[in-house]
Symmetry: none
């Protein structure tokens, strides 16, 4: 979730790598009609650019990339695990399709294909992503802090905490997962939108900035807790006091009453 773009509605944003003008023509029309933003490229798009474009899905004809196609597919998929990738290419062998899918592609469609089917597959690929993306427009209130997604800002009472964009995205994510420990990788993945490079300390740094601002704005509470070797957890807690039970998370009862793992047999 948390497409870093505030876009009220979320028209799917798509990048297409292909050169078949006829195909592009038809596909373009469909996408246009659906209101999905899309850009067409004739060759490999650098990963950085894809990130910057904030695309949600990529349609690619491996043929246009030549021999570097596999490497490119690999790179893109590992750098942007959340990206929906649909390979739409001509002739292919089972082995090629398997290789593509294993490399991280989400779907593989052979040309010629009906644009309607391609669209449906793009939708299918993007569907789950979107499902969890449901961003509650309702402000979240935790401790003294109130997080207003519509303002892109957090408040204490009516005073703004003055968060920057990234800081806000971070606190929104953390607060949205209240109580749960989020690992750095996941945080990075969801806030920054792509895979975290090993050794990247960005998350730590922003957590520090966030803590500073939160402490200045709400000195009597601690919000972000470190779980050594794991990640961070957001939970309002009065300084030097016991955790607040405002949001009681008493076990088992309200949590998914799923059958207890591991017992069961007998």
């Amino acid at each position: 979730m948390h497409d870093p773009i505030p876009s009220g509605a979320d028209p799917l944003r798509i990048a297409v790598i292909d050169t078949d003008s006829g195909f592009l023509q038809v596909l373009g029309n469909r996408l246009e009609r659906l209101g999905w933003e899309h850009r067409v490229h004739a060759g490999a798009i650098p990963v950085d650019t894809l990130v910057a474009m904030r695309v949600g899905a990529l349609v690619v004809d491996l043929a246009t990339l030549g021999p570097a196609a596999w490497e490119y597919l690999d790179k893109v998929c590992s750098a942007m695990p959340g990206l929906g990738v649909v390979v739409c290419t001509g002739q292919s062998t089972v082995a090629q399709r398997v290789r593509g899918l294993r490399a991280g592609a989400d779907d593989w469609l052979s040309k010629p294909c009906h644009p309607e089917e391609l669209i449906a597959r793009i939708e299918a690929v993007s569907r789950r992503r979107k499902r969890t993306e449901a961003r509650p427009e309702a402000p979240i209130a935790v401790g003294e802090i109130e997080i207003r997604a519509d303002r892109f800002q957090a408040f204490v009472g009516d005073r703004s905490v003055d968060l920057t964009r990234r800081e806000f995205e971070l606190i929104e994510l953390l607060a949205g997962a209240e109580g749960r420990v989020l690992e750095r990788e996941e945080i990075y993945q969801r806030v920054w939108g792509y895979a975290m490079a090993r050794g990247d300390r960005s998350v730590d740094v922003f957590v520090r900035k966030l803590r500073q601002k939160l402490e200045k704005a709400s000195p009597d509470w601690r919000y972000i807790h470190t779980h050594f070797g794991v990640g961070y957890r957001f939970a309002p807690e009065p300084v030097g006091g016991a955790p607040v039970t405002a949001v009681p998370e008493m076990p088992a009862a309200e949590v998914a009453p799923a059958p207890a793992r591991s017992r069961a047999l007998a």
Copy 2:
């Protein structure tokens, strides 16, 4: 039963609805070799059953379901949004494929198809699912201890046992295999992720740390039992009492002098 040392994550659990014996034969072999649990059905499986089976993916030939296929597909997909659904069926029109995908199927593959490709597509679908899945992991409770994966922590009542990451992973593994004796090699393999060097005492050391913390947090119970020359077994047991058969839930204060049903040791 149970995977011996899959070090990684859980084996994918798959349900197949099909009647084509040849296809099933080949597919079954592949799945077997991959170590994925699977069950084959000749007709529609009630949603409840699917839920109970805790499957992660469903492979279905719509043809075997007859006219009710669409309705069934709809029902399954809306009831289990997290389920990976791959339709693998014979002849089909673009309209049908689009309809299936729109209904919630994640992929659609036409028979005849190479089992390898089907496998790859199941993997692709599950991969995305895993990423998206907001693990609603139910906490597991044993004795007085409650293990919450979402917090990377174990609790007694609402007090944290204050486990480090490794300690947590260890107790999670042990508790997850409740009752079974796990050999050191296996424990190491699954917690540390690689083979244990001969003479490595890490497991012992961590078991000690765990015991210490558990005893401090829950003095009236013993949880980790040593099996000389073999390994360790996790089972809540009141001090100086007999092993409990029914796991006492929440309160746990009063130690029910449960009937001694001593488990025969190896």
